[in-house]
Amino acid sequence: MSVAPSDAELARDALAGSEAAYRELVARYATPAVNFIYRFIRDRTLAEDLAQEGFLRVYQRLSTYDPQRKFSSWFFQVLRNITIDYLRVHRLPTASLDELEEEGHRGAAMDRESVSPERAAQQGELAVAMSAALSRIRPEYREVVVLRYQEGLTHPEIAEILGLPSGTVKTYLHRARKELAEILSGSGWNTSV
């Protein structure tokens, strides 16, 4: 039984010119990349375009990657920079759903509409409500939630990506959960407490 190569090994092989290694690396990180960017941009096509740009930038800078570091930390740092650059240039207000709707980002509007328990229950998707609640919290909270609970990164890894102390990451996670709980409770999801 062969052991799957690590990210660092794939990065090394890709740097040496292996197309297969780079393809494997892209396949591993395609969904995390698009998902991460989508949480800020709320536009699937644009998220894919930015993720493509992220992969290209990673390929161009593979020689600067330190294999001692976790590849995912480095990769998400690149993605985060690309997303922040895009948001700065296009001045997309990530925290405001109203302004996102005005700019034609229907995804955000759909999410908010589906926050109501009735509608979400009809669709059978509590996940939709959670996703919508996620889009309503502060962007810095949102990114730590995605990195921690969807990508499974540790506090120090997230701290490295965001350039924050580990304690601040823990505080952000705590506050993010509190805000999500308030949003969901406010939308009528908490019927037992």
Binding site: N35, Q60, A181, W189, N190
Partner: protein, 166 residues
């Protein structure tokens, strides 16, 4: 994602049990679907990288070719023009040194003369001043100056601090 998990998490949050809330939320959030990229995403990403690599290789090859051509031109010019070039350089150096060296020597001589004169005047003045009483007086004046300067600095520092506190 089921409702019981959600309610458990909300309950833990409400009760302030942070670790339990974290675990419950992690379990709950794992069920939130990830946004999936379109099917050709990987192919497009790989193709973009390969296009960039090809362009870069071409660029590097062009740069090497240009460097080799320039080096070749330089070598040819050196072979053809070297004797003339060396002759011109030697002539220019001889011309410059023929005019420059006598000028330099003349001015150095004058400057040395002034230096010796100043040195002599200085030594005469110093020998006239070198009595114990005068030395004590000079050192005393210098000490007074240093003390005055120190006091001024303290006063100025105190004033700056006062401004900052206002």
């Amino acid at each position: 994602m089921d409702r019981k998990q959600l309610e458990r998490w909300l309950e833990e949050e409400a009760n302030g049990r942070d670790d339990a809330a974290d675990a419950a939320f992690a379990h709950l959030f794992a069920a939130v679907p990830k946004v999936q990229p379109a099917a050709p995403f990987v192919d497009q990403a790989v193709a973009a990288a390969l296009r960039w690599r090809t362009r870069r290789r071409r660029l590097v090859a062009c740069a090497w070719a240009a460097t080799l051509v320039l080096v070749g031109i330089g070598v040819v010019l050196a072979f053809v023009g070297a004797p003339r070039l060396v002759t011109s350089v030697i002539k220019a150096m001889a011309f410059a040194s023929g005019r420059g060296v006598p000028w330099l020597v003349a001015y150095m001589t004058v400057a040395m003369g002034w230096w010796w004169t100043l040195g002599h005047v200085g030594s005469v003045i110093a020998s006239a001043l070198m009595t114990p009483a005068r030395v004590v007086a000079v050192v005393g004046v210098e000490l007074l100056g240093i003390l005055a300067f120190y006091a001024l600095q303290r006063i100025a520092g105190a004033e700056r601090l006062g401004d900052a506190q206002v």
